[in-house]
Symmetry: C2
Subunit: 654 residues, 2 copies
């Protein structure tokens, strides 16, 4: 270990961070200055990576969970030689078009393994990355050859550790014994409000020990010690490790270091100059030549390491052609078609149960489909077929994950599994508890990750559990998140197609909103409905003549609409099932008008709030539920809320 | 302690629970059967309460955090003699109109201290109840007389303890040294999916010790031990206590106890009969006479206790007339008017900062206004005036709360503070992180609690922090929650009124969406605007003649609309500020039409997704942001997204 060089790397991280933040007049110097030494040894010595191929499947992963410290990451990516992170990007830190965005954004540059900034989620995603590694290792490594064998590192601050999602993920990671997850805790005891003594005086080490982690301590500024601690972490194969590094926020800024003033605002011209003078930084955007030389030499080593792996991979491929075929399929990002379950008109099936059958078929066809539920395996219809094992420390090839009652971490872990590459992730809970995992769903959408969210018990038809468990605003609230695709199938047949659509999607998450109650499979007059549904809507029932009105319904309300239409004489009623309003609204007018003829009266019906349906119908022509529900048998609740076929028929007749 | 009687109470809890759940054919027998003994001693011996006055301010609070076990609570309320919980209610468990709803619902019956069911939130609300007790005790107790002196109990299961929100609240409670918070953990090691070994193997006791709690252990079925442990808990004044009680889920059901089958479904006729036989329950909805006799005797004691308190309270009132005046004001639920800050047209003030001044004025006038931020005190403008202290173990009279980076627990704790009575609670974070606290906001709305949510940095005009920190869907997503009132004031003057409106509201939460950036105070042509704004909208600028079009804008976009209107010649443009769309949409047509004349073209402008605005304008007439933002200076981000006065002017001119 070339400590002199590492010191120069740390110096360069500080130099780039001070100047980039100062130039942007925006940013968070506290972490990059405080943790520069860790960055130096991490990118210089510890990480098994190769900037020449940032997507090398067996690279170590590093997640900057404390994403506000983004200049830490950008500086190191640039110094290490990641081609995506140019000095120009760093000089345009926090400007539109720069890869050096305010917080690390997945997809902007190689080496950014996850979008971080919403605190606590980074380390939960790192947990998912570590899960993925164990799963792929179990599936692909052979007695003779090890193809998957890497570590997942994360850097957290006090903020991440206060968030509940990191607690959930920590307990999960400890339970699962994720020995290759190594988390550094930048313990500087300062947050925005001031000292952590204001709000955070727990014994973090003891808490992580309680989760079943190995906890180690050291100084942020002792390279030998960090190296030794990481070896110790790697030596413990059965437990994740938390390495607590005592540090000084904003280290190097003579007047602001060790204060909240260093956290989230530029140092200011005077303090920046003072810091640079104190540190011996000779110019602007300074990079020490020793740091460049060091990394140039390292790149040769990294290249060799990766080539060794590639040779091993080729040899493994020859020896294991079937595994290689799976590997390619897993990493293609494309789902393989499955023998979806077939239902008959008149079948009464809850869409959660139809969904379970579709999931089973897709899991059989796609060996990389993995996921589970937040302790609602049965109620969500989330179980995988019995021959697919349960993921655990004892069976890393198992694909069903018991996430525990931890909705938020579940979704964040799924983001991590998905980000790893090679796997497709799904997770499940009640739709009403989408609120618990919403921040992670937003990140799925922002990162364009096709995680599948199975959210069942999708309306007041949940019944007796009452308003806490009856979603009313949730469909609307999920539709408004950009890039989330919500599908609310209306019967078992639509559910199978919806699952297939979710699997086919590659650029963002899909929410499947499924019913608790049985729904009757209805005849579909559009012979092409399995294609048309991919536009978001199709015609279920055409009237004999030109329609007087169109009813748009989703999910269980399509059945209600058919019932109401049958109750109404003298009007030509067209019934449209619209499992995805967003998808339909994204279609060209010609496609929309084939389903909803322009100028025809439209009635909308959905067991949830009306917001968003006003685009299609007049307020009086929307049958919705704009209040919290009630506890009682579903039919009686619907009566109490005036949400019945009779009420819809009355609107039609008006 | 009459153990024979307590056993009969436990028997009666089991009897009522088995039959109520069986009759409803829905419910969760596992907890009431498993924890009946705790219920017996809690309601019979431990709780200082009086069913004759469920709202007695100095009663002990009990929150059933594991709300699915609702029959536990209902049985005990009925047995103890709470008049709101009749046998008829229990016999109509989970039917519309019954006070015995699926999950405990605040407001349905005295003795239900919080709506619970969404796991983990109950114990976080209990933390808030305990905070409120310490605050009121510090404010009102005198050397001579103790008026506020009660405990807060909660019952949690494995589910609550896996949720991140309970972890956040646990760390907060330990930090704050809430010695009068006593949490029972019904440790039955079974959840819906089966054994907790599937997902939850951490050392809970050690974790709570790490938080700074006292942790005690015992058996659910040993009255003497529970009594001793509670004494021990009470003996530790500086730490909250977790009492871990080993238990058997569904105890008494001979074939289902100790299995997941007992958790969440009726026992079934056969098992119910077998359980009743095994337990010696002679009939349906059986109540042991000894239980009734016992409680009848207890009620006399409780009445005396409460009368003693009342006498003390009267004596204290005479000795402390000023304190008594405050007490009455605090408990009235009504906010006192304040000298709101005054701004002048042309002032440039970020609404977060204007909000801080209004908050300061309101906090000066209302000594019961308390709250804080999730570590964003400065950025949110959440600080209270310097003479208002910081709440801590050392200063219970402090009113500013450092919640730590724990948005979800912050909101749940505020729910608890508000539920306690006597205080008004507010909390603050970035609007983008409303997602983190959303499940608690939903409970504020469902429980009709007027918690005030100060959510700043309310649009892409946040700028450099980028898409993770730029809300785009959040305004829409909050508006759809029933009973949430969202106010997005357009300048400093509106902000002061918005704060006053939030304080005046008594039946639900208010969200104040405030800007990071400076906004210019604009002239308001409606002379009555301070009244009209209470309808949700008012006219900022009237055209000379009959309007050709109306622009509806909210928040910072009102300034943009004024700018665009000024850029447009030849059209009579009316500009409307609509800080609360929900409030406006709830007005009678006559009021709406005074502001938006029927038949006139309407343009809507808001820096967020368009969903919901379609009610007022054609899709082409909505200037919105329907994608994630960008990192960059606010103005450049707005340019990049096409969200400018010029773009709005182009729509106007069309």
């Amino acid at each position: 270990m070339n400590i002199a060089a590492l010191e120069k790397i740390a110096l360069s991280v500080r130099a780039l961070s001070i100047d980039a933040i100062q130039k942007a007049n925006s940013g968070h110097p506290g972490l990059p200055l405080g943790a520069a030494e860790l960055g130096a040894i991490l990118y210089g010595e510890l990480l098994r990576h190769d900037p020449a191929d940032p997507h090398w499947p067996d690279r170590d992963r590093f997640v900057l969970s404390a994403g506000h410290g983004s200049m830490f990451l950008y500086s190191l990516l640039h110094l290490a030689g990641y081609p995506d992170m140019s000095l120009e990007d760093i000089k345009t830190f926090r400007q539109p078009g720069s890869r050096a965005a305010g917080h690390p954004e997945y997809g902007l540059a190689g080496g950014i393994e996850a979008t971080s900034g919403p605190l606590g989620q980074g380390v939960a995603m790192a947990t998912g990355l570590a899960v993925a590694e164990t799963m792929l290792a179990a599936r692909f490594n052979t007695a003779a050859r090890t193809i998957v064998d890497h570590y997942t590192y994360a850097l957290v601050g006090d903020g991440c550790l206060q968030e509940g999602v990191s607690a959930e993920a920590g307990s999960f990671a400890g339970h699962q014994g994720l020995g290759k997850l190594i988390v550094f805790y930048d313990s500087n005891r300062i947050t925005i409000d001031g000292s952590t003594d204001l709000a955070f005086t727990e014994d973090v080490a003891k808490r992580y020990e309680a989760y079943g982690w190995q906890v180690l301590r050291g100084s942020m500024y002792d390279f030998e010690e960090i190296s030794r601690l990481v070896s110790q972490a790697k030596g413990e194969a059965k437990k994740p490790s938390l390495i607590i590094l005592g540090s000084i926020i904003g280290k190097g800024a003579p007047n602001k270091q060790n204060t909240a003033g260093a956290h989230g605002a530029p140092l200011g011209a005077g303090e920046a100059a003072a810091a640079k003078q104190a540190l011996g930084i000779p110019g602007d955007f300074y990079i020490a030549p020793e740091a460049l030389d060091y990394f140039a030499a390292r790149r040769a080593v990294w290249k060799k390491n990766r080539e060794t792996w590639l040779a091993e991979f080729e040899a493994w491929s020859k020896e294991n052609p079937e595994k290689r075929k799976d590997w390619d399929a897993f990493h293609s990002g494309r789902a393989l078609p499955a023998a979806l379950p077939v239902f008959a008109v008149g079948d009464k099936v809850a869409t959660r149960n139809a969904g379970n059958r579709a999931l089973g078929a897709l899991a059989a066809a796609n060996g990389n489909l993995t996921g589970g539920s937040a302790d609602l395996t049965g109620p969500n219809g989330a179980a995988l077929p019995p021959d697919v094992g349960v993921y655990s420390a004892a069976d890393r090839a198992g694909r069903y994950i018991h996430f525990g009652i931890r909705e938020f971490a579940m979704a964040a872990v799924c983001n991590g599994i998905q980000l790893h590459g090679g796997l497709r992730a799904f997770c499940a809970t009640f739709l009403a508890f989408a609120d618990y995992l919403r921040p992670a769903l937003r990140l799925s959408a922002l990162m364009k990750q096709p995680v599948i969210y199975v959210l069942t018990h999708d309306s007041i038809f949940v019944g007796e559990d009452g308003p806490t468990h009856q979603p009313v605003e949730h469909l609307a609230s999920l539709r408004v998140i950009p890039n989330v695709r919500l599908l609310r199938p209306a019967d078992a047949e639509e559910t199978a197609e919806a699952w297939a659509m979710a699997m086919d999607r590659r650029d963002g998450p899909t929410v499947l909103a499924l019913s608790r109650q049985e729904l009757t499979v209805f005849p579909k007059e559009d012979p092409e409905w399995k294609n048309t549904i991919r536009t978001g809507a199709y015609i279920v029932k055409k009237p004999g003549g030109k329609p007087d009105l169109v009813i748009i319904a989703t999910g269980s309300e399509v059945g209600l609409a058919l019932e109401a239409a049958a109750m109404t004489a003298g009007k030509q009623v067209q019934v449209v099932s619209m499992p995805s309003r967003e998808l339909f609204e994204a279609q060209p007018a010609a496609i929309q008008e084939r389903i909803i003829p322009p100028g025809v009266r439209v009635i909308c019906c959905e067991a949830g709030v009306r917001s968003g349906w006003e685009r299609w119908a007049q307020p009086a022509d929307i049958l919705s539920i704009d209040r919290f529900g009630e506890s009682g048998p579903a039919g009686r609740v619907a009566e109490a809320l005036g949400f019945t076929a009779g009420a819809l028929a009355a609107i039609i007749s008006r």
